[in-house]
Subunit: 758 residues, 2 copies
């Protein structure tokens, strides 16, 4: 109640002059492979309340169905029906889960099945049109044509808020579908439990076995008016063996449980009447969801919640104020910044309780616990961006990772974790990179010595993904493990990151041990062909091998052409390996200009022509640092033109504006850094490699109160070449900036021109 | 640690003179239908660690398999193999669940399937012989012949302690079967989760959908020496979708999860080496199980735990010290007393946390939370016995029932609840009887006003089991609900109990309302035939009707002959209804002497010739009060001879010594009361109806420090007729004792004779 009163008393400050949310287009990336969601969420919010446009199963006839891939975030722009609005969504992932607790309001004959895209009238789903759709940060509105209902959604951190406006009918149905989910399959729902506490309140939970093997989400759902009747249908054979024919459990019986359940609630409505629903989530319990519900939104003022949540977005977006050459660039920038602030997401109740990966309930002591760590993606630029823009949150994310380590039976930091589960997706142990980047940059609101210990422990778990071989031989043998070269290269980089952390923390032994390990990239380089190449357990290179093919060649999400450049931590060493600067320059030029035949990527679900430039794949992550490599061979102008080309060609403010999965903000973080003119090539280093800014000016307000001002003289679409840089008034001749220089507050002036400065 | 130190410092007092556990035969009732278990448990313990002798499925080809019925407690005396030792068992129920976490030590080739009774060598189970079996309170020992292993079991409240002595082999296997369970069926196990924390500690949980619809039990298992390797097999299609071929999850990988899992642990052993296992349960979490483990048994001293747990039994059994005419009677008495102290069972962690029926975690504030309330059985004599012998525990049981009410979405007290689930088994709302009996007897360590409110709320839940009809019409219509007459009669009794509670708490309105409701038994009496008879919704009696048949006649676990006497709260009214004392006497005489043809009970799984006397069924509960009815018509001598006959004929100290399900102690509680010479015909009254004591003498030590001494003069097998009673030295002419008289301390002398005193 105290908090509730505060909310009423403190006047809301509206920054009318800088209403930056107007530039955010949440529909960006919802077409094809961006895998973003258009719905309502607050920065790093636990609830992502968003429309789902189809219900494809992960499997068909027991096999993976590749069409489900496009529904990683539930929504595809080209679809013409909305199934309903569910409360949890990943942003930009390339594998998926979630879609918990779908709600849809309907009219007419009660139908509890979703229907199909081709025959929506056979189910509860509805046709809709983009003409009747508004997507803003923390607000989504759409007209459900088949039901003639206006649906509006907003959210606080843990509560989704629905407002449905009904036509002139007698009875409205609100359907709560507990079977619905993203990457669903028969048997994914392990158990659901629903209690109708009274005629305006329902609680329960949903337990699934999907990407998260043992995942439970709890809810509390409040209506602003009483329903007159309710019930459910069960679509499995689980029997309530205690019933003994005592009840008709299907109608107006306040306890429901089973594997596949859809519930409904009937309301009397008059024309234009609005039914409001507050739907709170908890990782802990229904009691926790109740606390979240009453603490975050004590009243029924949808408009106030929308305004306050949008203000939260403005507060975050205002951390960077910019001028751009075009509205398209302005919108692309703030949409990207929006996408970087969607996750990791808060994973604890208002009282600090959360579920750990040991499935026990823990108390977050002095930090906010986060989940959804897509670390193979986000260690590259997203967490470095947080060290600049969100150092406090990044510190709490690392504390969350250390809590994961404490609870891990593997004595490991997270690999790819979500909702109290390690899903082990992708490769490497990039938690250590995230921690090293924070440590090296002095952002240490956590026990850094313990973090170093956790990193070393993680890097020595022999049964993890070929790591035992790597420890024994210095490489992952291709005949013993998949993606062997990618793993070797990424382990080597991660080891360097640990070494940098040890250096900062003055542990010479660990530093030396891991610096040595960081050289292991050499072990998978085949000098006879000048590429990284799979090596067998017997020490010889694999014979049957293609440098262009992505699948089955010892790599993951990249071919040898791209992955051979994955030595971000020792670029001089890599250049030497490739054959010196001249050869390296040729290699890079070829990468960006060669024609990659469709045959090499057509069967990869997440690489399309839009995502690539020559053989350079921007739609996937492994080469995100590569355009900056020209800086190491005296050809910075090539970096500059490549960066500007990628910024313009691979990003936009339209639904098809992302050239690949946004990958929990990594693609967008690349855009933010690169459009500001610099990029963290090797997280764990203080250096940002300099590119070519897209902004005309930028003012970055840091959490420490200082500012970085960036002014770009002679900025234009043609003037992509940096002529001169002034740092705090003095000419800056290095190819990089230093993080600590920026954090002390800095004035940077870029002078641009139409010709390369060689 | 504090507790542990205390355990070491305080000397254990051994009552060598009164080592009463020697008279307890836990195998009693394990043959045929007693449904008791022979394993190790402490009084009211949360762990019942006991051998299971078969693994029959609840269903065969989708249909209930009646053979499973005999395995309600997991063990059948006539079986020749032991499948293993599981940690949870009901005592004496007629429907079942539990059997969680089966452990079996094996030698030789590792086999993860249980095998069959006919071919035990094809699985992990083992042959055994009763010659090599010892069952004592808190201790069970058996030789597993096929493996040549000596298995010993003991337990504390929340921890099972296993000691296995191995022959001369190299490798011992300890199997942990998470699929095993009682009343199992395909799909009953909803989810299991196992973590190998280190090489001596394993944690996890098991979630089932059985009699308890949403039931989860957590565990922590510690070994006294490290295993050298481990693994598991999965027997379902649930896939760990996160694995991506990173691990061979089956061997030495410390996380297992799925629906059907069996794990194993391999140990190097030498001849006669003992492997000890402590296995703690928790209703809350694996963290809770760990707390229970370390708090209750901090060391590895099996013999000390056995001694202390057996001492707990002696302490409880010593509440009544007796003399009997025979060792058989002595053993039957203490075995019965043992059976009455098996449950309800403790259901909370050492820190007071437990799971409520709302599936949230609650803190038991100032009381011990109990579960397993088989109330249709136990309200009759078990809870009244607790008001005499265990008033503090009974108070806590009622507090547990009130906590259930607080958490109930139905606003109801428990009907038949176990492990945070309402299983709705049987009929009535007999929680109110348990509460009323305690209130009327002044045992109120709970909020009695709230308890009355909870009782009234329970008695008015219209959707519960025909109750709406009962409220509207004064009876449950047979065409609208099953067991309509039994429900009407039991509701009427329960209503009287509420009235008695209201009377004691001085609420005149509730008293009057419920006294009126208590007369509803009249509505189902058909004066034209002189029996209780199903009435239809239109107010006429059902035509097609048999007074002898049990099934489908409007009754449950009794026919009209028995159930027509179910008016324990208004015996004079019943006598009048039946047709006066003479007719009533004839009715009772006929009941006990008529021949009931097999056709009337052969198809009932829990009635056999052993359980009946004439048409009187002692093996089921509805007539347990009936033999005392002769007291109301001036024929007490018939009560006396019937009681002695039942005590001798229907109870014994042998495996077949129970004539029906013990029903969580109700059958045994009848024995205790009746052998002491009195019985609570109508719980909720202070009166105990007087029968014929079987003891020669008894001294009952009450919790208030007072004693009841009972001396029976001229006691013999033939002298079953009471000639005279002296209460505190004065002749006592009533047919009943008063509870408060006894609680003040009392000296009772019975003078017996071979002839009735008419």
């Amino acid at each position: 109640m105290k908090k509730a009163l505060l909310l009423l008393v403190i006047p809301v400050i509206i920054h009318t002059q800088t209403n930056l949310i107007q530039y955010v287009k949440p529909l960006t990336g919802t077409q094809r492979m961006g895998h973003t969601f258009p719905g309502a969420t607050v920065p790093f919010g636990a609830v992502q309340l968003s429309p789902d446009t189809d219900t494809l199963s992960y499997e068909k006839n027991g096999k993976y169905q590749k069409e489900v891939y496009q529904y990683c975030a539930g929504y595809q722009y080209e679809d013409s029906t909305i199934v309903g609005f569910s409360h949890t969504h990943f942003s930009g992932t390339g594998h998926s889960d979630l879609g918990d607790f779908l709600i849809i309001p309907t009219t007419g004959h009660l139908q509890l099945n979703p229907g199909t895209a081709n025959n929506p009238e056979n189910g509860y789903r509805s046709r809709y049109s983009h003409a009747n759709e508004i997507a803003e940060p923390a607000y989504y509105k759409v007209k459900l044509d088949d039901h003639n209902i206006i649906a509006e959604l907003t959210a606080s951190t843990r509560v989704g808020f629905h407002r449905y406006t009904f036509p002139a009918i007698d009875t409205a149905h609100i359907i709560l579908d507990l079977m619905h989910g993203i990457y669903n399959y028969d048997g994914k729902v392990v158990w659901t439990f629903v209690r109708v506490e009274n005629d305006t309140l329902v609680t329960g939970f949903r337990q699934t076995n999907g990407w998260g093997r043992t995942r439970t989400v709890y809810f509390a759902m409040a209506f602003n008016k009483p329903f007159m009747s309710y019930g459910h249908a069960k679509y499995d054979t689980s029997v309530y063996r205690g019933f003994w024919r005592k009840f008709d459990e299907r109608k107006n019986f306040p306890e429901m449980a089973g594997k596949n359940i859809r519930a409904y609630f009937n309301f009397p409505v008059t024309q234009n009447e609005q039914i409001n629903i507050k739907f709170a989530l908890s990782p802990v319990s229904t009691a926790g969801a109740m606390k979240n519900l009453t603490d975050e939104i004590p009243d029924w003022n949808f408009d106030r919640v929308k305004k306050e949540s949008q203000q939260l977005w403005n507060n975050e977006l205002e951390k960077i104020s910019i001028e751009m050459l075009s509205k398209k660039d302005l919108e692309t920038f703030y949409t990207s910044l929006y996408h970087t602030f969607l996750g990791p997401t808060v994973y604890m109740d208002v009282d600090g309780q959360y579920k750990g990966i040991d499935q026990n309930i823990h108390q977050a002591d002095g930090f906010t616990n986060y989940t959804t760590f897509s670390l193979w993606d986000t260690y590259r630029a997203l967490h470095p961006l947080f060290n600049l823009l969100q150092p406090k949150r990044n510190g709490d994310m690392i504390r969350s990772m250390l809590a994961h380590y404490d609870q891990s039976v593997h004595n490991m930091l997270p690999v790819w974790s979500h909702y109290a589960n390690e899903n082990w997706c992708m490769i490497g142990y990039h938690s250590v990179s995230v921690i090293a980047d924070a440590v090296v940059k002095g952002n240490m609101p956590f026990d850094a010595i313990k973090a170093l210990k956790a990193s070393v422990s993680t890097a020595n778990q022999r049964y993890y993904d070929g790591l035992g071989y790597y420890l024994d031989k210095g490489f992952v043998p291709d005949d013993m493990n998949s993606s062997s070269v990618s793993k070797t290269l990424e382990y080597a980089y991660d080891d360097w990151a640990i070494a940098q952390m040890a250096l900062k923390l003055e542990d010479a032994n660990i530093y030396e041990e891991f610096m040595k390990r960081s050289e292991n990239f050499i072990n998978v380089f085949d000098p006879s062909i000048g590429f990284m190449r799979p090596k067998l357990n017997n020490g010889t290179f694999r014979k049957n091998f293609s440098t262009l093919e992505t699948d089955g060649q010892g790599f993951i999400e990249g071919n040898s052409w791209n992955y051979s450049l994955y030595v971000p931590h020792n670029v001089p060493g890599l250049i030497q390996l490739i054959g010196g600067k001249k050869r390296f320059s040729q290699y890079l030029d070829s990468l960006f200009t060669m024609h990659l035949s469709e045959e090499y990527f057509a069967h990869n679900e997440d690489i399309t022509r839009e995502g690539i430039i020559g053989n350079y794949v921007h739609g996937n992550e492994p080469s995100h640092h590569v355009p900056y490599f020209y800086n190491w061979i005296g050809e910075s102008w090539k970096t500059q033109e490549k960066i500007r080309m990628i910024l313009n060609a691979k990003y936009s403010n339209t639904p098809d504006g992302l050239s690949g999965n946004d990958d929990c903000g990594q693609m967008s973080a690349w855009y933010i850094f690169s459009s500001l003119g610099f990029y963290p090539v090797a997280p764990g280093s203080e250096q940002y490699s300099i590119g070519s800014p897209l902004v005309k000016s930028a003012k970055i307000t840091l959490e420490n109160g200082k500012t970085i001002s960036l002014n770009v003289k002679n900025q234009s679409a043609k003037n992509v070449y940096v002529q001169k840089i002034l740092l705090n008034g003095k000419e800056w001749k290095e190819k990089y900036f230093i993080h600590s220089d920026l954090m002390n507050g800095a004035s940077i002036i870029f002078e641009m021109g139409a010709k390369p400065k060689k």
